[in-house]
């Protein structure tokens, strides 16, 4: 496999796969090439991941300072918003929004906690703390 020297991605795991891309050249032919994405494509993808990581870090700080429940952190880690989390866990959106606060989170039953844990694919113990 070709050496991948383009250092736009900050995560080491990124940019290891080649894809098929189409081109239209000056002779009027459509060409297919299997290759890595160019720099502009990497910049825009890295931008999205920067944004997600910022949100994740912000949520982690909030949880550690006691302003939000761990669900807020896990939600940002899995790139979800309250609506999609509600769909994944089978809980109404207004309840999800309430459970993002530390007080209502403490009063949650085992059954509801299990629903969230299944949605995030982790155990209840992992759900109660942040990394």
């Amino acid at each position: 496999m070709e050496e991948n020297n383009n250092k736009v991605y900050k995560d080491e795991r990124y940019g290891k796969y080649r894809e098929m891309l189409y081109y239209y050249n000056e002779d009027g032919n459509f060409e297919k090439k299997v290759e890595f994405h160019g720099e502009p494509d990497r910049v825009i993808l890295q931008q999205a991941w920067d944004f997600f990581n910022e949100r994740k870090e912000e949520a982690r700080q909030k949880v550690l300072s006691g302003k939000a429940s761990p669900i807020a952190y896990h939600m940002e880690k899995d790139l979800l918003d309250p609506m999609n989390l509600g769909m994944a866990a089978g809980i109404k959106i207004w309840n999800v929004k309430r459970h993002l606060k530390p007080g209502p989170f403490k009063r949650l039953s085992e059954k509801t906690l299990q629903k969230y844990a299944d949605a995030f694919n982790i155990t209840i113990e992992e759900l109660k703390k942040v990394e």
Partner: protein
């Protein structure tokens, strides 16, 4: 239910777009030739919709392709092939058993999946996107053989992982959808299929009476791009712009939001059915697609330097408007052609 090990002799070929690649590979499995652009064109893959009131990954939703499974369904309908699509199952077990039964009969089966938990997928693409397609062509013990056209080689996926991605939650949830080809007639009318597919696409791009779909939607988006920096600030404007570019360039589109693949379809059918008008349209489509790529290059500079945009958003809006007019011309031309 335990079935014995089975691997179907299925040829994996990499492709630009997941669903038309899967359709073309499935078709080729039965010994007839259908290239990826032909599958994309006859199945009306090209589309545009801009839905700013819905948010996908925290930015306005837009789509450059048709709804999931349209490409397979329509191309099979127009080509007159006997195919089955099961839209949804009641539970996980039932859907996996149905897949096993198909593999036992020796039928490679396409499934719709969500990519977030797909273990072999490139990690930079693992976001919540539920419209990915791949073909299952074998089972050994607890593992399935998977042909994913985004990847260079066939992959292996365990039973639990496959069940999980087939039942991904969220917008456009797959609900275990699967599809396969039953049998193919000996004589196939490619000409009428390409004609039908092309005219359906023309309808969807320029004739739908709704202002957010097709070329009309592109014009609305061009106007919105100009407003973004004032309305949301530079940071958010560049993230929203990035969303357009990501949907157009990354996520397995073959580049320029499928416009290259569609141009290749026009060129191939123009040569196949000796139609000069269509070759002209293909040339124009290729040039418009190159403008899309320029748009990405310029837009990416804005995304690199988020707080201080290097290029003015008004200029990008003008460029988008120009692209919309270019595509409008192509579809106007196609409207008058009958092959």
């Amino acid at each position: 239910m335990a079935i014995k090990d089975i691997v179907i002799d299925y040829k994996h070929r990499q492709a630009g777009h997941c669903e038309s690649g899967a359709t073309s590979n499935l078709f080729n499995f039965y010994g007839l030739d259908l290239s990826e652009p032909m599958a994309f064109g006859t199945g009306c893959g090209i589309y545009f919709s801009y839905l700013p009131f819905l948010k996908l990954m925290f930015a306005p939703m837009m789509s450059f392709r048709n709804f999931p499974n349209t490409v397979f369904h329509r191309s099979m309908k127009y080509l007159g092939v006997d195919a089955t699509v099961i839209k949804k199952f009641n539970d996980k077990k039932e859907s996996m058993d149905a897949l096993d039964r198909n593999l036992e009969k020796g039928i490679p089966t396409g499934v719709q999946v969500g990519v977030f938990n797909l273990t072999f997928f490139p990690p930079e693409y693992r976001q919540h996107y539920n419209m990915h397609n791949m073909v299952i062509f074998g089972k050994e013990g607890n593992n399935y053989h998977v042909s994913d056209t985004v990847m260079e080689d066939p992959q292996i996926l365990s039973y639990e992982d496959l069940a999980r991605v087939r039942w991904a939650k969220g917008a456009f949830a797959p609900k275990g959808k699967m599809y396969w080809i039953n049998n193919i007639p000996t004589e196939i009318d490619y000409r009428s299929a390409a004609n039908q597919g092309m005219h359906k696409s023309v309808y969807e791009m320029i004739k739908v009476p709704f202002w957010l779909i097709g070329i009309k939607g592109m014009r609305v988006m061009a106007r919105d791009i100009r407003k973004w920096p004032k309305k949301h600030g530079n940071e958010k404007a560049s993230f929203y712009l990035g969303q357009i570019l990501r949907m157009a360039e990354d996520f397995g589109t073959g580049g320029a939001g499928f416009r290259y693949i569609y141009g290749a379809f026009l060129k191939e059918s123009g040569e196949k059915f000796n139609n000069d008008e269509m070759l002209k349209a293909a040339d124009l489509m290729g040039k418009t697609a190159n403008r899309w790529r320029d748009f990405t290059y310029i837009g990416a500079r804005n995304c690199k330097n988020r707080a201080k945009p290097e290029e003015d958003y008004g200029m990008l809006g003008d460029m988008m408007m120009e692209i919309a007019e270019g595509e409008f011309k192509v579809f106007k031309m196609l409207d008058k052609i009958t092959i």
